[in-house]
């Protein structure tokens, strides 16, 4: 039986997902200024597209998520990352809506990324893969949505990096987005966000097994570096309160300190576990590319320095949601989005949800999140006649 990491590697080329390939005749013009082709997009769908093609909802995944939003993950065997939100009879009811989730450009679960084979060399791209942006991810998703014959999405929904894609979708294709839910996100990365990502990237690149990005060819894997990157990042996904509540200063399966550098504390053991399970399913180079895409995201800069200009004349209905204890994308980031949408005259709703669970709250069972999203989606569906 192949190991999880071997299975993960095979997902990059031949995923357990539907796949659409865009050939050399349909190149994707990247923000970096070059054309990318051929392009493969791996995606999952749930539910049925109605005859009027008006009930499609696109879910955008976060940095370490993927398209397996509401099904058993082919590598880890775990439930989909938003299965509490999406499924038959659930808030995003797949008996009623047609839900699409695509692996983003640059990732490692079947959409073209640095671990895909470069058709020119027959070897994995590695660092020859072009640096992509949030906008490039959205353009690739738009090609998929068009391929599926959908001219307007009922809603585009996502948290964190997924929320950045939601904002880019709404700015880039206002007529194709009836409603948008950017959650726990920002219209740009802060210096602190970029700083944490740089720590992660440097950890990966400092691992001798990274081999200048050519580890797949050389048969090594920079699991130590990627694991450290994940550990550092994971701290930013939780609040200080959540860490304290979960672990405090409790010791891990021992009565007393060992006076060593073993994982004495539960929090150490937890982070090590987060690191080691992450490297089984995620490609180190993809981690570099996706964090870079987030760092480069600055929607205002793309629109003459004024965020409101990104949404001028937009008829899309927005529902912006933040969490009180999220310090990675604090409420002030969401308020900046709301101010811009207001200035642009776009219909926008906003709530800040009380939670001590930090950034990751958007993935968890937060009743206030569910009631807000449910009410918004219901009203949007009603207005769209779904």
């Amino acid at each position: 039986m192949p190991t999880k990491s071997a299975r993960a590697l095979s997902e990059a080329e031949t995923p357990h997902s539907a796949v659409v390939r865009f050939g050399m005749d349909q190149p994707l013009l990247l923000d970096a200024g070059q054309f990318f082709a051929p392009l493969q997009v791996a995606y999952q769908t749930y539910g049925t597209l109605n005859a009027a093609r008006t009930n499609a909802i696109l879910i955008c995944h976060a940095l370490t998520g993927d398209q397996h939003v509401a099904n058993i993950h082919p590598v880890t065997g775990k439930a989909g990352w938003w299965e509490i939100m999406i499924g038959p009879g659930k808030l995003i009811d797949t008996d009623r809506y047609f839900v699409i989730c695509a692996n983003v450009l640059g990732a490692c679960m079947g959409t073209s990324g640095p671990s895909s084979l470069n058709p020119e060399t027959g070897k994995p791209y590695g660092l020859d893969f072009p640096v992509v942006t949030i906008g490039d991810m959205v353009k690739a998703q738009a090609m998929l949505v068009e391929h599926l014959g959908i001219s307007q999405l009922l809603s585009v929904v996502g948290g964190s990096m997924g929320g950045m894609q939601v904002l880019d979708w709404a700015a880039r294709y206002p007529d194709r987005v009836f409603s948008a839910m950017p959650i726990a996100t920002g219209a740009k990365h802060s210096a602190q966000n970029i700083a944490f990502d740089e720590v992660g990237r440097q950890a990966v690149m400092a691992d001798p097994d990274w081999r200048g990005g050519r580890y797949l060819e050389e048969g090594t894997r920079p699991i130590k570096g990627l694991s450290v990157a994940r550990m550092a990042a994971h701290i930013t996904y939780l609040s200080e309160q959540a860490l304290q509540r979960k672990f405090g200063r409790e010791l891990q399966n021992r009565e007393a300190r060992t006076f060593s550098f073993d994982a004495d504390f539960q929090v150490e053991s937890y982070l090590r576990h987060q690191g080691s399970t992450f490297v089984e399913r995620f490609d180190a180079n993809s981690y570099l590319y996706l964090t870079r895409a987030m760092n480069y995201f600055d929607l205002a800069a793309d629109h003459g320095g004024r965020l409101a200009h990104a949404f001028t004349g937009s008829k899309t209905r927005f529902c912006v949601i933040s969490f009180t204890s999220d310090w990675l994308f604090p409420t002030s980031d969401s308020r900046a989005i709301v101010h811009a949408l207001n200035a642009a005259g776009a219909p926008v709703s906003f709530v800040e949800i009380e939670s001590d669970k930090g950034h990751d709250a958007f993935l968890l069972d937060e009743p206030a999140l569910f009631s807000t999203m449910g009410g918004f989606l219901e009203a949007a569906a009603k207005a769209r006649g779904v």
């Binding site: 209905r317 927005f318 529902c319 308020r335 709301v338 101010h339 207001n342 200035a343 005259g345 219909p347 926008v348 709703s349 906003f350 709530v351 800040e352 949800i353 009380e354 206030a368 009631s371 807000t372 449910g374 009410g375 918004f376 219901e378 009203a379 949007a380 009603k382 207005a383």
Partner: protein
């Protein structure tokens, strides 16, 4: 009905009368911002009857969630601190319904409203009403009436004013009064020709349509 139910019933009826007066002051199809929009009842009324393009601000998350579920675009925020973020002249009407007395700085809030919108519609309970006066005069106690149902120590209403006080503030800002309506305890409009002093005693609540000068 018990006394409490009667009070609730009367309060609910009055709220609706108050909303109807506000709705009368708004032109059809206008862009309206409802500050302190609660569960969205006024926004719904304005959207259905006047076809307005309505938006709201509401302090409580539960209120925002109810508004959002009714299809309204409402932001969780505070009249005292968040109006400043709206561009000048982005609404035709900015409505403040029974909320002025709960703001920390009523004058600033009014000024912001008149900056954001060409018109401001303000409704508030009149602290000059005879019931309030008699409660103070005869009992020497802060009034607790159908319209003012809190004790002094737990009330969110920190800046009560009378109709005369409000008119003086409008003069100071300055703004123009395009229309004013006072409602008596049963929700009926007081005669238009009655003098201010009469309104100030008989009006339980008042609704003003203001315009920037």
């Amino acid at each position: 009905m018990t006394d409490a139910e009667l009070r609730d019933h009367s309060a609910a009826t009055q709220a609706r009368v108050d909303y109807l007066v506000v709705a009368d002051m708004v032109t059809p199809g206008a862009r309206v911002l409802d500050v302190g929009c609660g569960d969205g009842a006024l926004l719904t009324l304005l959207t259905e009857r006047k076809g307005v393009d309505g938006r709201g601000i509401e302090l409580s998350r539960e209120g925002v969630a109810q508004c959002v579920a009714r299809g309204h675009a409402v932001i969780q925020g505070d009249a005292d601190t968040d109006l400043i973020d709206y561009p000048t002249d982005c609404f035709d009407y900015v409505v403040l319904s029974q909320t002025l007395q709960a703001t920390r700085n009523p004058r600033k809030v009014l000024e912001q409203m008149l900056r954001i919108g060409r018109h401001a519609v303000v409704s508030f309970p009149n602290f000059g009403h005879w019931r309030v006066r008699s409660s103070l005069f005869f009992n020497g106690r802060m009034p607790v009436t159908a319209n003012l149902r809190y004790n002094w120590y737990d009330t969110p209403n920190i800046h009560f004013c009378t109709i005369a006080d409000f008119v003086a503030l409008v003069d100071e800002i300055p703004a123009r009064i395009d229309k004013a309506v006072a409602l008596n305890a049963s929700g009926a409009e007081l005669g238009f020709n009655a003098p201010w002093w009469f309104w100030n005693i008989m009006g339980e609540q008042a609704v003003f349509l203001l315009r920037r000068v």
